[in-house]
Symmetry: C2
Subunit: 667 residues, 2 copies
């Protein structure tokens, strides 16, 4: 008998392999990822069946071992630097969150190259690449997160010895949160206020040794510790650190942007473009888009496969049938899952386009052309916010759609959720970041007003004067791709006009943004939904006829369900009539039925291996119940005495009752 | 210098104590809860500062010890049965999720009284109340959750020995999920299909001994285990169990509803009202309303207090100010938190009304009056769904509004979230349960059509024929309490009309509900929001002038923000014009400013002790940074060697690089 998922796969003629090539840019890239994964999975270090049953200390140990092992494999197989980086991405696919050393390569080495002069780099870069020096980036403090200007750690120049003294003057100045700080790093790039002759020059970067290279003991004056367990990211040793008058040589300040001379004079290096530093933050934000797409795609794969296996309840349309109905045939299940599947496609495809855009932008900046930076800023802020929220909220929706079993760690969904929840508050808290999107959009609009020119990616702002609206659309018109681009554009322009009006009443643009920050949040999302819808339409245009019809269904569903979710905003902007909603919903219900036979194939297109998913419910073969039972056998509770209830709970009460009766009989 | 929260508290003249009396029904009840809490907190067993740093095995042990200790304290202090139950509620306040033995008292003993005859009860009830017998309720199976009819475990009558043979015929028939099954219980009420002479009589309850009373060893043929760690509820040992032809005496079937004779004949006991069983499920669902309100209130208390302490960024309205701006003064923070604060009040107040209604309903049913049961059904299903979702989504919103620190377990928010997330899938998965609300509403409407009569709580259905709508309202009209009751009613009636139309096209009501299950979900919520808004308006009417104005602000904010969130639905129903949205939003922004000075006082009104909150961020004194640091000192990682990175990670790579260089030099 074919398994339930085989039956599902036979319902669709869409080739999942071709979907994978569209989603992951090319056949060769898909094949490379598969090759790299094979390099890892045959090594027993990467067996992670017990992952959900480990203590946090064990999780940290497992992740550090895997990262080290991957690095060794990369060196033994002579992988290029690019492929080594990709190998770590593949590894992160199984470990869920990065290992602490991913911060060493991804953040510490990157900052070393960015903030320090070539002379300084010569001293450390080799050690860092050989992992003798393993570093962290220590910016945030116990009392200071997103506002870097408020940091309190000091770096006071001591001319007598030609040193800086790094010091934590208050409790709130304690470094708190940096990953790899608690246990892994022996060096840190520390953000501190530069004090020269009593004058505060603001925050700068300093290379500070935290631990002895051989013994791994904390250096004198440095106190290190772990900040405790988290809702996710428990592979990483996020730490705290205080400095008690720790001295470092003068030449350990990051001297690329500014120099302190032997005499204690401060020299700004005017030849270093500030935009280069700024662009790194932009790139980091952009990397969240791909992470969001992957995370949501994993959740959809797990949940849609499980829904293709699970049967529950009886079909009221066939009251005589004795067989239970497949969960994927319930309308509410489709309504919850298929729009998320469409969103996972939308975000992944936009991720590809953003990567290409980011490369183009980097080349422009190198040539000194900064004209596209404001678009990159708006796009990276807006997309980071929106895609991280769609992904996190979507993973939780998937988890709930798995019923009780989604509550088990072995389903894979709780850890997927926990690890990704950091995205909404890290690298610019989402509600703060939306103000950046709004600021960039106001800037583009201001340039348009003064010069009449707009960046090519923002031509639609030219329509801001037209308060146009279409006539009510027919049911079929609501299925045309151009319709969505138009209505999402009108919704966005209405929101932008609204903010322009509000800001014009305020004392400054900054005050206008702060006092209307909720409007900024909505504007940022209105803009970004337009980007996502537009990119989806563009991305599928050149695809083959084997996959195009299915992708069009997903694209339409994405646009219509997002419209339905924010229907009030669209109506308010005048581009959708309240009376059109029944037509829109009827289209959505039709689309759900049309997507239904392709659902399992569409998630197969993401091409996750069982090893990467690490989910009892998301297995390719659909043997979920065997997997649940087998996984539970790894539970340490099933390998320890179960007499605790007897000794800790039942006996004390029995004894108490005995004492009570005894004392009563004495009376 | 006064602490930031002292400053906040001085901004409001609303007495928090009086808020507590309104929220928790009466002064005497508040004082009783405080007295019971004092009974516990002085005992070191209840110290739970290390709670967030325990392994799951330790969490289970801690919770069982606390529950046992509370029971002993209750007996020593001669608490009444009612106060003992309340003491366990207070205990659950600190432990987050119930201990496994709460299921013994709350579910096992209850079912013993409900499903078994008085004769049967006489045999077991004393043992159960003395906790010699500790039981669980074993219904769900690996492959069978909400659909009880699909359960597979069998209970076959064996006339030769006058026994039932309990058996698990398949993998999917394995009992899976019952709390207290893995380690705690020595008896279980097991749901199994009754087979008599080859005929299937459907599922019935059987009392099965699982473990030896003295040794706690599993009985022959019984295999027990733990199903693994979960996203929450990790105090509870949810377990699995299989039965391999386990024999029990015939008189261990629950004989209250039906009897099996010595000859194997099946006799239905017609004198036992089915509604009594049904009412227990209804009461369990109703208990989720209070739990949801409490959980959301905790999250709001933690987050609003922390936001009253935390400063971040500078005020663009005062560009010269050097001091950072308090987070509670940001519009987005208010927009995220105050509507949730209002929702926590709304749910808590409705919880009080539902408790009173439930008592009234119980008395009616005892008198054989079942007229209100359908209202109770609609209300309990609708409220369980909506309040659990508002609470869970709201806790996560609060967690995000705490920025990075909300990601730490020590903030209290991740565990609060995890423990409460079970509510959306347990006791009737929310999307399934909404079909019950819809069915009950259709039934009431059907009775109205045939008899012209409506239950008093559903009189508003009489307006279903009026497709009325008001003229556009002025800004002030949108602040009148009657306005919301009217618009929420119109939205609900529009949705009900819509479902009636759709169901009329289908082959049966059941098919109509199944094929329009998404409409049922929306209808259920539209109905329940009306209930919440209406109850809020009614609940605050009699309150004193010291608290009434603040409560009116919250009530208005609750209604307006819920309206804004679903604006499309209101517009579609015709009771709100798209052009009214700017007025509605302006009112919301005004309300946020008016509530701002009372925010900390309004959460103080929930009257949670620091012990109950167990949150570094939610402390009454606002010393959050001290608390974060102190809490991290309990982290086991800070009490173990941090050399793991050196040995497991750095050394292997250094050695590999050394080998590589050696092999290269050999070439």
């Amino acid at each position: 008998m074919p398994s339930p998922l085989d039956v599902e796969r036979r319902k669709s003629r869409v080739p999942p392999r071709e979907l994978a090539y569209v989603l992951h840019q090319s056949q060769s890239y898909v094949e490379k990822l598969e090759r790299l994964e094979r390099l890892l999975v045959h090594d027993p270090v990467f067996n992670h069946k017990k992952m959900y049953y480990l203590t946090r200390g064990e999780q940290y140990k497992r992740a550090t071992q895997m990262a080290g092992r991957a690095e060794i494999i990369a060196r033994r197989t002579n992988l290029s630097e690019e492929d080594t980086a990709l190998l770590h991405v593949v590894l992160q696919g199984f470990t869920g969150c990065p290992s602490s050393t991913a911060l060493h390569t991804g953040m510490f080495i990157k900052n070393l190259g960015l903030l320090f002069t070539e002379e300084q780099q010569a001293k450390w870069m080799k050690m860092a690449k050989q992992w003798r020096m393993v570093g962290c980036y220590a910016q945030t403090e116990l009392g200071h997160g997103s506002n870097v200007r408020g940091l309190e750690t000091t770096a006071t120049y001591v001319p007598a010895t030609d040193e800086f003294e790094i010091h934590s003057p208050t409790l709130t100045s304690m470094k708190w949160w940096p990953g790899a700080l608690a246990r892994t790093a022996n060096f840190g790039v520390v953000y501190a206020r530069l004090l020269l002759g009593g004058k505060d020059y603001g925050v700068h970067n300093f290379m500070v040794q935290l631990r002895d290279l051989e013994t791994h003991d904390a250096m004198a004056g440095v106190t290190l510790g772990d900040i405790g367990p988290k809702i996710g990211f428990n592979n990483v040793d996020n730490g705290y650190c205080t400095f008690d008058h720790v001295r470092i040589p003068r030449d350990q300040m990051g001297m690329r942007v500014a120099t302190v001379t032997r005499q204690g004079a401060y020299l700004k290096n005017s030849d270093v473009p500030q935009e280069v530093l700024y662009f790194t933050m932009l790139q980091t934000r952009m990397s969240y888009i791909r992470s969001s797409g992957l995370a949501l795609a994993k959740a959809c794969t797990i949940t849609i496969r499980y829904s293709g296996v699970r049967r529950q309840g009886y079909d009221a349309n066939h009251p005589d049938s004795k067989e239970e109905l497949g969960v994927l045939d319930y309308q509410t299940q489709q309504y919850r899952l298929f729009p998320l599947l469409a969103a996972a496609y939308a975000i992944t495809l936009t991720g590809n386009q953003v990567d290409a855009f980011s490369l183009q932008l980097a080349n422009q900046i190198k040539r000194g052309d900064l004209s596209m930076l404001v678009v990159g800023h708006a796009m990276s802020c807006g997309l980071k916010v929106l895609t991280s929220e769609i992904a996190c909220n979507g993973i939780e929706t998937c988890r709930r759609a798995c019923g009780g079993h989604g509550y088990l760690l072995s389903s894979g969904l709780p850890v997927l959720l926990g690890d990704n929840l950091q995205m909404v508050t890290a690298e610019g808290e989402n509600f703060v970041l939306c103000q950046q999107t709004a600021r960039a959009l106001l800037k583009v609009h201001g340039q348009f007003q003064s010069s009449g020119r707009l960046p090519s990616a923002m031509q639609f702002i030219a329509n801001i004067g037209k308060a146009s609206r279409a006539q009510p659309r027919s049911k079929n018109q609501w299925l045309e791709l151009d319709t969505y681009v138009d209505v999402f554009q009108q919704r966005f322009l209405h929101s932008l006009r609204g903010l322009l009006g509000k800001v014009s009443l305020e004392s400054s643009i900054a005050a206008g943004i702060q006092n209307n920050s909720m409007h900024c949040y909505k504007l940022s999302n209105a803009y970004t939904f337009l980007v996502l819808v537009n990119n989806f339409v563009e991305a599928i245009r050149p695809t083959s006829t084997k996959v195009l019809p299915a992708l069009q269904l997903l694209c339409t569903l994405f646009a219509l369900t997002q419209l339905e979710a924010a229907a009030g905003e669209f109506m308010e902007s005048g581009c959708v009539f309240p009376s059109e909603m029944p037509i829109i919903r009827a289209n959505i219900e039709d689309l759900l039925k049309l997507i239904r036979p392709h659902a399992v194939t569409l998630v197969d297109g993401f091409n996750f291996s069982d090893h990467t998913l690490n989910s009892t419910l998301g297995r390719y073969d659909g043997n979920v119940y065997e997997a649940l039972y087998e996984s539970a056998q790894h539970d340490p509770l099933n390998h320890s005495s179960d007499k605790v209830a007897l000794h800790e709970l039942l006996r004390p009460i029995r004894d108490e009752i005995a004492r009570e009766s005894a004392s009563k009989s004495r009376l």
